[in-house]
């Protein structure tokens, strides 16, 4: 206990997050093994999407919370990862028999594709700031969606076949269509597992925490807090913002592959503006720069609409009201004061700053 107190706050924070994720994974696995009927079909089907969304939220938090740039097109990177990764998984079907290895290779490929595109997009995007940067990321998200919707990709003995806008790929016998334009990926391999999702979440957290608590991470935060002051002490703002942006894109790509390989079929329209917004909601609700907040918010808000199924038609309405009320409760000065007084009285000690967020 004493050692925990002596730890640096950042170290304590990251270990708390790791413990939280590992504990959640252990509990779910135990329930799945020992409880009759597992954790219920509803939750069972949500496990891999939850892992994908948690990774998305953590990666977006790196851009929005740590680097301080509002991105409204994060689903675009997820889309790139999902398509590139799933296509890779199908292409490797015969070469790599072991499905976890194939998934890992696909994820690495998805992450690389997203990172390269993230770098290319980052060059123009990071020249802007504020709301203009936000609208350009939104624009890139929509462009990625439109382009991916029109890509046709097939593979056969002669190699890869690619065509754009209309399907003119002539595949030899035994060839497989990887991506079919607006229909998306039709015969995706369902090789994602909950364990793979858990490992991805852990990797994402380790990468993000190590980046944030490093020299580069401090430079990123310095550039966020005061661009001019950071530049004046010799920090290359563009370089560090780009670092956060590319790392975030790569993680989102891997999350996309995880998601893509858990569905039998998916189309580019799945990763639209609304998905970007959904992930942004996780980040803001969990707290900017607060990784365990993102983990909890992403999990809770992915389960919430499913758990509200009994209200059938009213569920999204309830979701919207909950969202508004939570934002009001955590940000309105009067309500914030009320909650922190309440917590102070309940806890019998001085409420910490931001106590209402708990």
């Amino acid at each position: 206990m004493k050692r925990i107190r002596q730890m640096k706050r950042s170290t304590r924070n990251s270990w708390f997050t790791y413990t939280l994720v590992v504990a959640a994974f252990a509990v779910v696995q135990l329930l799945r093994t020992f409880q009759d009927g597992g954790i219920g079909a509803m939750l069972e089907g949500q496990l891999i999407p939850i892992c994908a969304y948690v990774t998305m939220a953590v990666s977006l938090n790196l851009v929005v919370g740590i680097s301080g740039e509002l991105s409204l097109g994060h689903a675009g990177f997820m889309s790139l990862g999902a398509f590139a990764g799933s296509a890779m998984a199908i292409a490797l079907q015969d070469t790599v028999a072991l499905s976890p290895l194939r998934l890992a290779l696909a994820m690495v490929f998805g992450a690389i594709v997203a990172a390269v595109l993230g770098f290319l997009i980052g060059i123009p995007v990071l020249r802007l700031n504020g709301d203009y940067l936000a609208i350009v990321t939104l624009a890139f998200g929509e462009i990625i969606k439109s382009i991916v919707t029109n890509v046709y990709l097939g593979v056969d003995a002669n190699g890869l076949h690619f065509s754009f806008l209309s399907n003119s790929n002539e595949l030899a016998d035994g060839g497989a269509e990887l991506i079919r334009g607006p229909m998306g990926v039709m015969n995706s391999q369902r090789i994602s597992t909950f364990t793979a999702g858990f490992i991805l979440v852990m990797i994402a957290l380790i990468v993000v925490f190590n980046l944030v608590n490093s020299r580069s991470g401090r430079a990123i935060m310095a550039a966020r807090d005061n661009r001019i002051a950071a530049e004046s002490v010799g920090i290359s703002v563009t370089k560090y913002k780009m670092m956060a942006f590319v790392v975030s894109a790569a993680l989102a790509g891997a999350a996309g592959t995880l998601y893509g390989c858990s569905q039998t079929t998916f189309a580019a329209t799945k990763f639209d503006f609304n998905t970007s917004i959904l992930i942004l909601v996780f980040v803001v609700l969990g707290g900017l720069g607060n990784m365990w907040g993102s983990v909890i918010a992403a999990t809770a808000l992915t389960i919430l609409p499913e758990a509200l199924r009994q209200f059938s038609n009213y569920r999204m309405l309830v979701y919207a009201i909950v969202l508004i009320l939570v934002m009001l409760a955590t940000n309105n000065p009067t309500l914030k004061q009320f909650f922190s007084d309440l917590f102070a009285r309940l806890g019998g000690k001085r409420a910490e700053k931001g106590g209402a967020a708990e």
Binding site: I135, L317, T334
Partner: protein
């Protein structure tokens, strides 16, 4: 390339652009004064269109002079949207006046979800077919080689009227002056005796009334009405506002028109599937050359 086709596309581009411009005004005025991106604006358009639809179909059997039903419908829609805009501002945005802008953005998204889902519960998700407010009348020029529908003409005319009225309002009236003062510096405006909260409410009211008009015009051109109808024109109009320089009223007009024209030409001459991508690509190029939009003011950072 045929000249008449070109003209035809140009006119329909201007008409679509006029609708974007009217919606973009709502975004740009609210942004100029409250410094927030009101993502629920697109859904106010949808509510306005539904209200007009129900008033018009309710009055369809009554014996009224021609154009009475559409005019009544539009007026009722404007009143309802104005009230809605003010109520949303009072309940959801006003408590967050001091909060970080991201919190307000997420709240706006919450309001947008709320409006969409409330509309789905009230009016179901099956599309309603909106009858054009001016019927299917057409204007034929050059021996029938160029036809312009009445809706197109009406849209362009309404857009011009709104622009003139709004420019006069912000430049000549006391409230307009208060708005300009608030967008410059809220604190200083308050010290000069301007009721900042009331000014913001009025801005929301005007923006929402314009959204109702835009909804009616948009639906007259593209008649299928569903609870999610508002989101795509909402995003496009937001893009238009940024394109022209967010916070600037002439910028909203210019951005809206250019966006509409580019979209129509891209659809006609390049590819229907890629028209949205082309619009956004042009936006990115413009923002790289002029980072504050076409007519936006570049604010120099002071150290």
């Amino acid at each position: 390339m045929n000249v008449m086709n070109f003209l035809n596309y140009l006119i329909s581009g201007i008409s679509l652009g006029s609708i974007y411009a009217i919606i973009a005004l709502g975004y740009t005025m609210v942004y100029g004064i409250a410094k927030m991106l009101n993502f629920a604006h697109g859904d106010v358009i949808m509510v306005g269109a539904y209200i007009c639809f129900f008033v018009m179909s309710g009055l369809s059997s009554a014996a009224l002079p021609p154009f009475a039903a559409p005019i009544l419908g539009t007026l009722v829609a404007m009143v309802v949207c104005t009230v809605l805009g003010v109520v949303i501002e009072r309940l959801a945005y006003k408590p967050l006046r001091q909060a970080p802008s991201l919190a307000v953005l997420i709240t706006a998204i919450g309001v947008s979800y709320f409006l969409q889902n409330a509309a789905q519960l009230l009016w179901t998700s099956s599309p309603k077919y909106f009858t054009s407010v001016v019927g299917n009348a057409q204007l034929t020029l050059f021996d029938g080689r160029l036809t312009i529908s009445a809706v197109t003409l009406l849209t362009i005319a309404v857009c011009i009227i709104i622009m003139l009225a709004l420019t006069t309002f912000t430049n000549k009236t006391k409230m307009g002056k208060a708005m300009r003062a608030c967008s410059e510096d809220k604190g200083a405006a308050q010290l000069m005796g301007i009721d900042v909260n009331r000014t913001i409410s009025v801005t929301f009211a005007i923006g929402s009334a314009l959204a109702a008009v835009a909804g009616v015009l948009f639906m007259s051109a593209y008649p299928s009405l569903t609870p999610t109808t508002g989101s795509m024109p909402g995003i496009k109009a937001f893009t238009a506002a940024v394109f022209g320089g967010i916070g600037s009223i002439p910028g909203a007009l210019l951005g809206g028109l250019l966006l509409g024209i580019i979209e129509t030409f891209a659809r006609a001459y390049i590819s229907t599937e890629l028209s949205t991508a082309i619009v956004f690509a042009v936006l990115i190029v413009v923002l790289l050359v002029k980072p504050a939009g076409l007519l936006g003011k570049t604010v120099r950072e002071k150290v």
